[in-house]
């Protein structure tokens, strides 16, 4: 019973923070809401006894990805007012699409005679059960192919990001290592003779 209550509380927080992500006026607040929703979903995973995934979600997403996000948002200084300019003009269209989609989903959920089947409750595992080990086994045996593909996908993402950003353009503040190394003392250091100043 306590578990169910816990689940609904967490779900409510998760949905509220997800709404916060898309409604917050300040992009930094949106990122912080996203952090909150990640933390809440990791607790939801804990309820499902997926401890390893829960920890990894916090470590990787909250610890690394979201910090990077925050840096980017703060450095880019996004002009929210400019982004919101077309909002009211297209809002009605979005509202219509959202209403149609919601109506369809609700129709299927409610008007179907048999309704939705409930998911079976999970049985708790014994204390010495290691889901990290199970995850590793599944990842490196059953899903090895998908794992390798994901590796190639990451390689592709690196190549694509570099292709799109690395180019010569005026005003580029990149370092030229060979020029840095080739610099001589005379180019940079100027010794100036000055008269010593006396306290009077």
């Amino acid at each position: 019973m306590a578990g169910t209550l816990f689940f609904y509380t967490l779900s409510a927080v998760l949905i509220a923070s997800a709404l916060g992500v898309i409604t917050a006026r300040n992009p930094v607040h949106a990122v912080l809401f996203l952090v909150l929703s990640f933390v809440t979903s990791s607790v939801l995973w804990l309820l499902l006894e997926a401890e390893f995934l829960a920890v990894v979600l916090v470590l990787v997403y909250v610890g690394a990805v979201m910090v990077l996000f925050l840096f980017v948002v703060m450095m880019l200084d996004v002009n929210v007012a400019q982004l919101r300019e077309g909002f009211t003009r297209y809002a009605w269209l979005g509202a219509v699409v959202a209403a149609v989609l919601a109506a369809e989903l609700l129709a299927i959920v409610w008007w179907k005679p048999d309704g939705l089947p409930m998911a079976a409750t999970t049985t708790p595992r014994p204390a010495d059960y290691s889901n990290t080990e199970m995850l590793g086994t599944a990842l490196y045996t059953e899903h090895l192919f998908a794992f390798e593909l994901a590796a190639f996908l990451l390689l592709l993402a690196i190549v694509a990001a570099i292709v799109l950003t690395m180019r010569r353009r005026p005003g580029l503040k990149a370092q030229d290592v060979s020029r840095q190394v080739a610099v001589r003392r005379e180019d940079r250091v100027r010794l100036v003779q000055m008269k010593a100043e006396h306290d009077t």
Binding site: H143, A146, L153, A160, V163, R167
Partner: protein
């Protein structure tokens, strides 16, 4: 050499290693040696094709934990994709040599896209299908934005990326619901679970709808076609050529694997959906293409119309319909490659020459390539004895056999509408006087491949039996 488990995926392994090789070699090459990258990419494609033909058109093997399937259809489609991509590379090289962004990454990202498509073709689980789809999409997003100095390209890439991400989200949502219903991501097991019951379950219906949205976006079917004209017009011509050809085979494979092999049991649900999408695509594609003045935009809308025909094949809901859709996809890719090859041929340094007016008097500037373009356009209309005729005829025959009279009538009507803008191209080429005397792009490889491409449309139209039989065998 390889663990036996990986043996059916040997072509993908070869391609993956080739990608790493091209990546490393290109890194150390000076810009004037770009042709080495090009040749290496072609060698990689050839080696992959040899690995595929080693597996051949025999037997079905499920490998790698049931996430990978090697069957006759996979081998056939893979060989075709590799050949089509090699053609695309030959055309693109002529274009890139004159452009300011002749980077080796064009070939590299092209190979990545091919890897994604190959994985999709052999995908036997929703997980690998999705990973292959993302790999192909990610490579194409980056390629569309290749010309960083062009705001039009940036806008096109942005639209493509954002809409593509939404479509991927829809597809993933559908996949997650399917996993919830059946408890597995493997297509064979999903089909089995749905046969046992739950095929007309509420959740399954929602899942099917979301999956169809994802697939329709990848095809560029109406109403998920918004990105097509902008990407075709905004991207560099070499990228438009790539986006307009090979990925359609990937989309076909995705539709076939997921809808027919995995969700075959729910055919009653998705066949009408595809029917609606098909008629909308035929209508919007053919009618809006009429008012275009830009050749690339016109070809974009013509693509949407052709996608409508491919979807009609699926909507027929019969084995024959799917064979017809396969045949149509193959013929479409050949025709589109040729048409964009002509666009590349017309262009010159700093001027893409992609307006319809640039085609004026082509018959006087180059009688031979005007004839090639004539063959391509007439084939796209669907006039015998060209390949496009058999493609349309087979789809319509399958629809009539399945009793879908209205879909067939819509197909015929909109094809007649479409004939107008294809014939206008012919009129511009043959009955108008040339606007300028700028020479066509040189390059023996480009001209030779383009000639073969045009003649192939004629040859497949006169002797379609070989390809028809191959399609039937691949699916049989």
């Amino acid at each position: 050499m390889l663990p036996t488990e990986f043996a059916p995926a040997f072509p993908e392994t070869v391609l993956g290693l080739g990608i790493c090789l091209v990546l490393l070699v290109d890194l150390y090459l000076p810009a004037r040696w770009r042709d080495v990258t090009y040749l290496l990419a072609l060698v990689t494609l050839a080696a992959t094709a040899m690995a595929v033909s080693d597996i051949g058109l025999s037997g079905t093997t499920l490998a790698l934990g049931g996430s990978f399937v090697a069957d006759p259809l996979a081998s056939f489609l893979k060989l075709f994709v590799l050949a089509a991509l090699a053609t695309v590379f030959v055309y693109s090289r002529a274009y890139l040599q004159d452009s300011t962004y002749n980077k080796g990454e064009y070939y590299l990202l092209g190979l990545f896209a091919a890897l994604g498509i190959l994985v999709m073709i052999s995908g036997a689980s929703l997980l690998t299908l999705y990973l292959g789809l993302e790999m192909q999409a990610l490579a194409l997003y980056a390629m569309v934005a290749f010309n960083r100095d062009s705001p039009v390209a940036a806008e096109a890439a942005m639209k493509y990326f954002v809409l593509g991400a939404i479509a991927s989200g829809c597809l993933l949502y559908g996949i997650s619901l399917l996993y919830g219903v059946t408890g597995t991501v493997q297509l064979a097991e999903i089909a089995q679970a749905l046969r046992a019951g739950g095929a007309d379950d509420a959740v399954t219906l929602v899942a099917v709808a979301f999956v169809v949205v994802g697939i329709a976006f990848k095809f560029g079917a109406v109403p998920f076609h918004m990105w097509v004209p902008d990407v075709y017009e905004g991207a560099p011509v070499s990228v438009t050529l790539l986006v307009g050809t090979v990925p359609k085979v990937g989309a076909f494979a995705l539709a076939l694997r997921v809808l027919v092999e995995g969700l075959g049991e729910t055919g009653v649900t998705w066949e009408p959906m595809l029917g609606v999408l098909a008629v909308l695509s035929l209508g919007i594609g053919n009618i809006v293409a009429i008012v275009q003045t830009n050749l690339r935009r016109m070809l974009a809308y013509s693509t949407i119309a052709h996608v409508g025909f491919i979807l009609l094949g699926f909507a027929a809901g019969s084995r024959e319909g799917i064979e017809a859709a396969l045949f149509y996809t193959i013929v479409y890719v050949i025709m589109a490659a040729g048409a964009f090859g002509i666009v590349i041929l017309l262009g010159r340094q700093g001027d893409d020459a992609d307006e319809l007016d640039d085609l004026r008097g082509l018959s006087q500037r180059s009688p031979w390539f005007a004839l090639v373009m004539l063959l391509l356009m007439v084939s796209m209309i669907g006039v015998p004895p060209l390949a496009g005729f058999y493609a349309k005829w087979w789809v319509l025959a399958a629809l009539l056999d399945a009793g879908q009279l209205w879909l067939a009538i819509a197909g015929v009507l909109f094809s007649v509408v479409g004939a107008f803008y294809y014939l206008r191209v012919v009129k511009l080429m043959y009955f108008d006087s040339p606007a300028g005397e700028a020479p066509l792009r040189q390059g023996a490889a480009l001209r030779l491949t383009l000639s073969v491409n045009g003649l192939l449309v004629l040859a497949l139209g006169v002797f379609p039996e070989g390809l028809i039989e191959l399609c039937a065998r691949a699916l049989g």
